[in-house]
Amino acid sequence: MVWTGLTALLSHWRMRPVQLAMLLLGLSLATALWSAVQAINGEARASYDRAAAILGQDRLAQLVREDGARIDQQVFVRLRRAGWLVSPVIEGEMRFGDVRLRVLGIDPLTLPPQAQQVDIAAGDQLLPFITAPGVLYAAPETAARLTEQATPPVRVAEGLPPGTVLTDIGQAQVLLGAKDKISRLLLWPDQPIGRAPLKLIAPGLTLREPSETGDLARLTDSFHLNLTAFGFLAFAVGLFIVHSAIGLAFEQRRPVFRTLRALGLPARVLVLLLIAELLIFALLAGLVGVALGYIVASALLPDVAATLRGLYGADVPGTLSIRPAVWAAGLAIAVIGTLVAAAQSLWRLWHLPLLAAAQPRAWARASERALRAQGVAAMVLLLTAAGIAQFGSGLEAGFALLAALLLGAALALPLVLTGILHLGGRLARGPLAEWFWADTRQQLPGLSFALMALLLALAANVGVSTMVSSFRLTFIGWLDQRLSSELYVTARTEAEATAIHDWLAQRSDAVLPIWSIEGRVAGQPAAIYGVADHATYRDNWPILSAVPEVWDRIATGEGALINEQLARRQGLGLGDQITLPGGWRASIVGVYADYGNPIGQVIIGIDTLVQHYPDVSRLRYAIRIAPGKAEALARGLRAEFGLPAQNVIDQAGIKVFSLKVFERTFNVTAALNVLTLGVAGLAMFASLMTLSGMRLPQLAPVWAMGLTRRHLAWLELSRGLLLAALTMLAAVPVGIALAFVLLAVVNVEAFGWRLPMHLFPGDWARLAALALLAAGLAAAVPAWRLARLSPSDLLKVFAHER
């Protein structure tokens, strides 16, 4: 009985291969986009875990300075003498040619076994490691990037995170220009009893417990949450196709259900058979979807990796590994998604009288009831969104707001369209126009899910492109303010830096130091910069809020400027006091925009910086000169000091580079947007193709009454275009609301900066054209088939045997 029933049910799909293909394609694409995001996130997280686990940080406690500043090497000596089993580590960023890397210096003789990343003691490797010029150990992909650069000898070591080189602490101190300095001390797990207390020997140090999550994982959380949200949006759009295809298939098969029930198949068995059928499809499409997801992820990962490197300094390999968890999650989401998409149809099948005939108006009227319920749900969701906007806080609340807003808008769409179509019908003159509007309204239940998918995709497109374009506009303006100096030079040694400074003093309008130290401010990693008292800053710096005479107060060392993200994250404002590395305090006299920087930043006067941090690295300078003379000066600088090209960069070069990083940051978002729009276009196509088969009984009488097939086909095409155009119109306000939430809530929570919103109607017009093109293409195939339909096929509608 079960097999016979299943055969009868499956035979439906044999008769409708296109509908089956659309169902499977919708589910595959939905799973693919979701899996792609999961694969990317999985790869990145695995990389962060490797970084977090380096030198046993996830298992060993460490001693660090509370303010994050470097520790004198003497402290290490004192601790060892007092019986503490500790091992020094220094780390920092440095540039080898055009490759920027994290340098990790260790002492192989005192390193705890748990922190052994590379077997340096094996064979004759120890001596070259600890003696000049030293050895750099690096992961294969990092080693490959270093082949063209002038570095100490490089050896490949598996297991090191990408973008990191491991070397002896002495070599690292030289490379990083931090003589006799260390960053932290690793504690052996077993310490001698009775050793002198830490407070006594090293009062500035504090114990940091082992942590499984590194700073990178925390910093990049918001980025991955953004990706996940987009993956979920794409998945939801795909599910609309699945829901639509399943709903139509259930409606088409109602006579079969009736017959099967009449022949003695219990309702429960029928529902179970349908679930079995859906599970077969879900697993099949899930497998294809995850495989497709890997292809999409492979294509997107290089850009994601570049973004993470540019934005967070996080190195993620550009290649994917196959993770069983991603396959399992992909199949699970496909199955869950299918069952969610089919739930309504299964519920209706369970409850609706099976003897009810499959009539379009009956279906439409049943949908009218559903429409009312949908309207209530939409209202509740939109009110929830308003409530979260008013009272919610945090990134999760931001995404909950987005979800409620988008879902509420999508659910409200059929209601809005019904209203517009009613109005259109009232205003229509002539029988054809009246029929067109009424018939379009009747088609709405069959198309509503595809249109909701289209609305989501279009709104996401409008919202995200508004956000990105607003960001770009603000970012470009900000770059112009921030990069006001004509040239930027980086010396290789402090002696060279002094010589360069003296040389430039005669040949430029101003030489402005760009000196900074790293540390912790208000518990967050931060950089502290010193600035000269110069008009460059007074005239250009992108200040958001400040006390009067702010630059005078900076110059006299009375206060500090902080970046917007530090202010927002820590709730700091003008007049508040902050404790800076070294324990001294400064009053906040201004807050400035600092887009694209994940960490906090503090600006103080250059004299104050040197006074508090005499060991600050003094290698970089900004040069002011008439723009026309900049190129000649750069050439002269390179020639005079033999500086590599990348050590003297002009303003335009930095801007180009910054904009490139910016564009790459949003490449992934743009790609997901386009893919989501593609999925929505497919949803339209799938629905229109499926509906076209069901439309003949409604179209044939109109044809018989004197309309040509071509005329009908044009009307069908116009119907698709009209619905797409109306959906686009509805998508614009939803997209603007989405952009507002992204700019005013999500960005602030995720990155710590708030951007002004700019509107770009030209972009909307382009998107509308694209949507109409997609809808036109989706409607063209069924319309073309109608135009080419032979009269005998139309006549079958009138045949008695039907």
Binding site: P431, E434, A438, D439, P701, A704, G706, T708, F798, H800
Partner: protein
């Protein structure tokens, strides 16, 4: 002569080769007259009706309607013919589900550019539809739906009414009543009626009666 068919042949292609559905049919019908076309299932009755309506074209022969040979007319001309000259009543009613009864009734007349509210009112009264004008087709009984279909056809005042088993889906009493209405309204409008039916009883109520057997008039 309003309608004249001359040596009409029609083939359908099937998996087993071409099927000869109509063999050299000759037929004529004057304005104001009614003609019943009977025959077994598959004898070609509906095919013949569809050819006359310009819904399909014959493989040989001529169909003269109001003096014009409609065979070979293009799609647009055939569509114009269906709008303005002929009116079709189907067994399945084939109303437009998205329009209410009033809009369905007026649809073809408006499509033909001959809207006549006074005549529509008369038709609605005569057909007993005056109280259901705002309902949708699915909310009507079969008899009511068929009366709407008849009203829709006659509202346009076609010169030739083609009815394909118009009472086939109705019980005998309703069917008789519907046929009475068709005949009286056709007479009043001066149109000709060509009706396909299985029933000899109903066929005998028309002015003339021809029988099709295996695609030939007998």
């Amino acid at each position: 002569m309003l309608l004249r068919l001359h040596q009409i042949d029609k083939f359908y292609s099937t998996g087993e080769g071409p099927l000869h559905v109509l063999h050299g049919i000759d037929l004529s019908l004057e304005a104001g007259k009614s003609l019943a076309l009977t025959g077994e299932s598959g004898s070609g009755k509906s095919t013949l009706l569809h050819l006359v309506a310009g819904l399909d074209s014959p493989d040989a022969g001529e169909i003269h309607l109001g003096g014009t040979n409609i065979v070979g007319l293009n799609d647009t001309a055939l569509a114009a013919l269906r709008r303005g000259t002929v009116g079709l009543v189907f067994q399945q009613f084939n109303l437009i589900p998205s329009l209410d009864v009033a809009a369905n009734l007026a649809f073809q007349a408006r499509l033909a550019g001959r809207p006549d509210p006074a005549w529509l009112k008369v038709l609605a009264e005569r057909l007993g539809l005056a109280k259901v004008l705002t309902r949708y087709p699915e909310q009507l009984s079969s008899g009511q739906q068929q009366r709407v279909a008849i009203g829709r056809t006659l509202a346009a005042r076609p010169r030739l009414v083609l009815a394909d088993e118009p009472t086939g889906n109705l019980d005998e009493a309703t069917g008789d009543a519907v046929l009475d209405l068709i005949l009286s309204l056709v007479t009043e409008t001066g149109a000709a009626l060509l009706m396909v039916t299985h029933s000899n009883r109903l066929a005998n109520r028309l002015n003339a009666h021809v029988h099709l057997q295996a695609g030939r008039l007998v």
